[in-house]
């Protein structure tokens, strides 16, 4: 499985802990919410670094108290039309102050990358068999934004120093 990180494709280095196999994992484990709620103390003891995956029906409030323990939080996008995780991403950044890696996983599609990034997601899982060589170009297709979100983009006219008088004066009759 590859990951798109800062416009580059790299190999995944995290271990996804399999619930059924009772695997001991490695020192970098990504766990499910269910695993976390059940084996929290064991997982903390044996992992140097921890990640968690939130399915699209698992809002971040479920792990509110522990959010800052995680180095990576994965947000699952099960299908194109399920947009819940966009809100989860914004809440993680704004409400819970999560500063670690926020990763989109699941059915991650090129034409949604820019939206994800704007909501504060910084890495993107590439499903097996998907050609992601041109993915990095998806972020710059729309260069300006009308609204504040979780990127430092050029938001609508904030830097526009035009005064009201100048705008009004521009009318030609």
């Amino acid at each position: 499985m590859a990951l798109l990180v800062s416009n580059r494709l790299i190999d995944e280095s995290w271990h996804h802990l399999d619930d059924k196999a009772d695997s001991t994992g490695t020192d970098k484990n990504i766990v499910s919410v269910e695993q976390w709620l059940r084996d929290r103390d064991t997982l903390i003891a044996r992992s140097d670094k921890l990640g968690i995956i939130l399915m699209s029906d698992q809002p971040p409030g479920l792990i509110e108290a522990d959010i800052k323990r995680f180095d990576v939080i994965c947000l699952d996008f099960p299908k194109f039309t399920d947009g819940r995780a966009y809100s989860y991403a914004r809440l993680l950044r704004d409400k819970y102050g999560f500063t670690g890696e926020l990763r989109a996983v699941g059915n991650v599609l090129r034409d949604q990358l820019a939206f994800m990034k704007r909501c504060g997601i910084d890495t993107f899982e590439v499903s097996d068999g998907v050609d992601a060589r041109d993915w990095s170009t998806a972020f710059s297709e729309i260069s300006v934004r009308y609204q504040e979100a979780n990127d430092n983009a050029n938001v609508a006219r904030q830097n526009n120093s035009t005064s009201d008088e100048e705008i009004a004066g521009n009318w030609s009759y």
């Binding site: 039309t81 809440l91 939206f115 994800m116 990034k117 729309i142 705008i167």
Partner: protein, 553 residues
Amino acid sequence: MYRYDEFDHTIVRERVDQFRDQVARRLSGELTEEEFRPLRLMNGLYLQLHAYMLRVAIPYGTLSSKQMRMLAHIARRYDRGYGHFTTRQNIQYNWPNLEDVPDLLADMASVEMHAIQTSGNCIRNVTADPYAGVATDELEDSRIYAEIIRQWSTLHPEFSFLPRKFKIAVSGAPIDRAAVRFHDIGLQMRQNTRGELGFGVLVGGGQGRTPVIAQTIKDFLPKQDLLSYLEAILRVYNMLGRRDNIYKARIKFLVNEIGRDKFAALVEEEWERIRGGALDLHRDEINRIRAYFRPALYELITEQESAYDTARRSDREFDRWCASNILPHKQPGYGIVNISLKPVGKAPGDATADQMDVIAELAELYSFDELRVTHKQNVVLGHVRLADLHSVWQQLDAAMLATANIGLASDIIACPGLDYCNLANARSIPVAQKINERFSDPEQLARIGQIRINISGCINACGHHHVGDIGILGVDRRGEEYYQITLGGDPADNAAIGESIGPSFSYDEIVDAVETVISTFEGVRETGKTFANTWRRVGATPFKENLYGPTRK
């Protein structure tokens, strides 16, 4: 008229390039139809019964002459010489080629028009009072706030994949002309006890297969909090709205399921967290947007417009048109001109390219270069001097645009129906045409008075049948077209959902049935009362008896 700037231009131009690339990837086979479908829908491109259909946004229904001329150009160059104005202040083209759509959109983008968010589960084109800025009764021009919402919601990264589509309407006047009670969010401007302006916020209204009247969740929202409060509503809905059943995914089901109070509390909690932040609309920001609206420089008219009065006295047809199609304007000496797109024998809301050009020309010459499209599928010249009206009327008449029927029985709202639409069960346009023909006598129209006849070809209710005085709903009975009649719907301040009156009628029976409803009304009405009034007084019984015979048992 809003003055688009370089910023707006950049977004629409880049969106065209993005879509051009998506179309190229589809045509090369890189994208399958399954993958491409949501992408084309995000750009308003449907595959309908006969062909592709492109829906173009007309933000809050306002257009410049230049933009209207572009709509005419698109109709000629890429379509079959006409377009269809919809009940959501948009325009639809019924016959474009997939290959041509990127070029079509590039032409549109040259006048800052686009198809962004005209489909898909996102925040759709924001609608407003078609008389905003010119009505005699308004508190403030609602287009300023509709424009602020347009900007905020355009390509919103968090709210582009909602559980279902999302429609917002804004009214700046105490009398509702934007159907705020039938939108996912309705914003009704009002004044608080300290004389400050803000909005009453209604949520969960809508038509479709489960019509619901919106409920108020906030009596008074200060203007500066508009966007933070909207963002809180949308975030709660995005996280909690149902995603397992598209028929229960609109916000009305969420509000109903958890209850209005609980929903309001969740919104309030999120709003408290984010209010006063980046989305705060301080006065400078509102003024900045206001300044983008070109003010109309009215002439000061003090004496009576005697030419206008003389023309009305001497020209009976002109007088009739003025009586039905002209509304009072806030500026003395001016009028609001409603151009009917409902002449006898034509499809409601359709306009040819030549007609669009005529309308654009008239707007340029007589109405400060500005036009509005209404949810009743007509066009408005916002501010015409009364002294110019006779000349405007003559020019409209020459283009078959001077039908005197605004608000009357032949001013029918109709969706495209089975003649064009993939979802329809029955035809709407020919039914509208036949009713229009039946009620084409001006004396008769005037006698019947204000009445809304609304026709939808299926349960999705694009023809707003739920809120018609007479609503007509097309249904399928074993492959045959049938029509159900509902009575007593009202889109505005006395919001009501029409009541089904009994068994449905066949295609050949429906026009007679409508005539029976109207003659029943005329039989029981008290002098000067409207259909809506009469319905509230007498209820369903006389209508049922005349339609179906004396009530059994």
